[in-house]
Symmetry: C3
Subunit: 328 residues, 3 copies
């Protein structure tokens, strides 16, 4: 999978499934394109006609109003028509297989699927099993990847720090179950950050975590030393029921980002969080709402990044189709 699945023969994006296998140049192109769409969001007329007449299908096998809404807004700002399909309540419940559902959607002449699925790898499977001409954007699959979230985080870092060179970034929380963390680590390493640190209890680390290219810390205060960017993960409260974590109070005491803890990072460190925030669980309100927080910039950047990957992948699809037509 990876490079050959996501890219055209000439190296353009045609799906957006994973950060894995994408070059620094391509990630930078995504950020530059997104930057140009930020300006669109500030205009009086917020639409550009790049996807006019195209149909984008939100194919959510796992409910997520927030992510679905940002993709819907992004698609509409590109002038696409949007179809929302909550697949769990649809044809699959009539006993139809996933690939039959997809073939049907494709026969409806849709141009792009935004796929969210609880199974790792589902968007790759879809990208490989649908015919040419339909771009697939991964909107989160299992514990595997959430590449648009990672790229909106990268855009937010670049806006605030100018460059990734020399940056030390700490990711704090439940790394094991986080598709966001996996994508962030790959993006930061590809874009040239000096160091990616993971700060978490050992029960929330994936096996062989160092192989991801990170340094592991178990103490919040020492882990934040010299840090330029603090990325908090959302604590999945469901996991509390299991034996992985003792209690919310205890977690907050050890890993909750307070102003006191943040004082260990560089004075101009920025604080990020993918939302929704559990105030008082993984982050203190004074920090979430403080001057170092760029959490709401992340949301704004989310629309721009999604516009960027959608328009780039659509352009890659078109290019490939034209190449096929000429080759035939």
């Amino acid at each position: 999978m990876s490079q050959s699945t996501q890219l055209t023969d000439t190296g353009q994006l045609k799906h957006f499934l994973s950060i894995d296998g994408l070059s620094k140049a391509l990630l930078t192109e995504i950020l530059d394109t997104a930057e140009s769409f930020i300006e669109v969001g500030e205009r009086k007329i917020r639409k550009v006609p790049l996807l006019r007449g195209k149909t984008v299908v939100n194919l959510f096998f796992e409910a997520s109003t927030r992510t679905r809404s940002t993709f819907e807004l992004a698609a509409k700002r590109l002038s696409a028509d949007v179809l929302n399909l909550n697949i769990s309540t649809s044809a699959t419940s009539k006993g139809e297989s996933l690939s039959d559902t997809l073939l049907n959607l494709e026969a409806m002449a849709s141009d792009m699927f935004i796929v969210r699925h609880s199974q790792s790898g589902a968007p790759h499977f879809i990208a490989e099993s649908v015919t040419p001409g339909v771009g697939i954007i991964n909107a989160g699959d299992g514990w595997h990847a959430h590449p648009t979230q990672a790229m909106l985080d990268m855009l937010t870092i670049r806006q605030n720090k100018g460059t990734f060179d020399g940056l030390r970034v700490a990711i704090i929380g439940d790394i094991m179950h986080s598709r966001v963390a996996r994508s962030q680590i790959q993006a930061l390493n590809t874009l040239g950050a000096s160091e990616v640190r993971i700060i978490a209890p050992s029960t929330l680390l994936p096996p062989e975590v160092e192989s991801l290219g990170v340094n592991v810390y178990h103490q919040l205060h020492s882990g934040l030393n010299d840090i330029d960017v603090v990325i908090m993960l959302r604590l999945q409260r469901e996991r509390m029921q299991g034996a992985l974590l003792p209690s919310e109070q205890e977690y907050f005491q050890q890993y909750g980002l307070t102003q006191e803890a943040l004082a260990n990072a560089k004075p101009d460190a920025i604080v990020m969080h993918p939302g929704p925030i559990n105030r008082g669980v993984e982050i203190e309100s004074a920090v979430a709402d403080g001057t170092q927080s760029v959490i709401l910039d992340q949301v704004t950047n989310g629309i721009a990044v999604r516009m960027a990957v959608m328009s780039m992948a659509m352009s890659g699809q078109t290019q490939e189709r034209n190449a096929l037509t000429q080759g035939a």
Copy 2:
């Protein structure tokens, strides 16, 4: 709240939260603007480009297909993009606070929220807690207000009676639990109706009802004497379970609008109802479908009035933003 929250410094509408505090001139401007949109609904092409490129979010914390649909239609006729969010099933269920949800929505660069909430005052809270640039339209909050419903009723009255001067209007039913009645009474008194009468059993009257500027009647027949406009309220059957009302039959006998009862009003009196109608409970079919009924005109006017307040509030937001930019 009221005037300072809803209006710009130069007295233009920038939110539409409540009739309370709005001048006769402003209410008349809403009616005149709505009148001009009636014509749009009759055109072959029903769209006007006033909100092109703007994003309107239907933020419904309380389900209402009917109200949501009319706002969605109104927004689309103004060429806006519409995002429907049923918040009860969304992020708040993940433990996110209302103000965090709103900050996120606002960071998505939405231009207007249509808010329905079971708590009185929620739209005011939202209008005061979101940053400049996002207009809030109250689509019904608790027992407090439903100002677009009141204004579509006013438009229907003006279309049929020409003026409010000298008009005697009766509102019949469960006043205590009715946000519609509160908004109607304020609008009628502001627009200069001669008399607003309330006809209801004492168990369905709010405390200190006379302070609202109404005359109270407990008998339907005597209450309808000399009346020009009869406004029925919808009986919430849920309330029957409590001790507030004896039975549907008994209620209909005392307060149900029959042709016989209607004969006590002026011969050219019009009959209104916000829908959905409980036939045989608060109104007889012969009246609901009779020549004096203007119930379906109310629905048509609902689209036009919602187009009016949305376009006026958007224009107020733009004006305020321009003023801020020049002042900065």
Copy 3:
């Protein structure tokens, strides 16, 4: 009902409720119009402005994501605004009657209702009870009719066979409960097929089935002799619980379309299925995915046929309204 309800005085389509009563010329016009929209689906910009400024309401009293999606896509490709209403969860649950709901929708100045209902005849009732100017498209009513499904099947047959003259068509499965089969039989007979065969166990045949203009077979192999077009029906697994059918295994053994069974039809026979497919129940995967299968063409044709009937009915409505205006 039938002709007088569906057609204008000059014989143009103004609703699309049933194949029954429509002429060969009109069905051919639908197919020709759909053919022209196939080309739209293949364009870079897939939209045509035929329904610009019009509001199409998906009025689904019975959930069906698949059918709703194809109508939504078709309407958007015609540039209409689409409002999705799931009526089961809406006003009717507040005790409002169907006709009150419809009057309200009509007062919202909608132009077309796409109606799906579990009661046979509901779309006819709606067509007859709403005022002029609102076109009704039947998207499936009870066991009665599913005329757009039948027409997309006819388009698929014509694309593959060129003509209906001399064609022998077999419809296989649960005829009794199938609104699709009823509409297909009427369309095939009207368009001039040589023979329509029904292949089913006697427990799944409607009473007086021969009066529909079909030949009945109970054996799959002999029934497929000399057949040009094989139309499979979807087996409703719910019916298995009753005494109508012994078991899935037994049904598949007798009526499941295998490659071996298909060998009894003509060598160039095509295989159709409305979807979703129950693989291994009514059809073998080797056949569903084989070279004779045109199942995915049916989906593509579904969009085009729905665009055709929507644009034709809208044009009929406009013509009738103009005639009324001039006559008045």
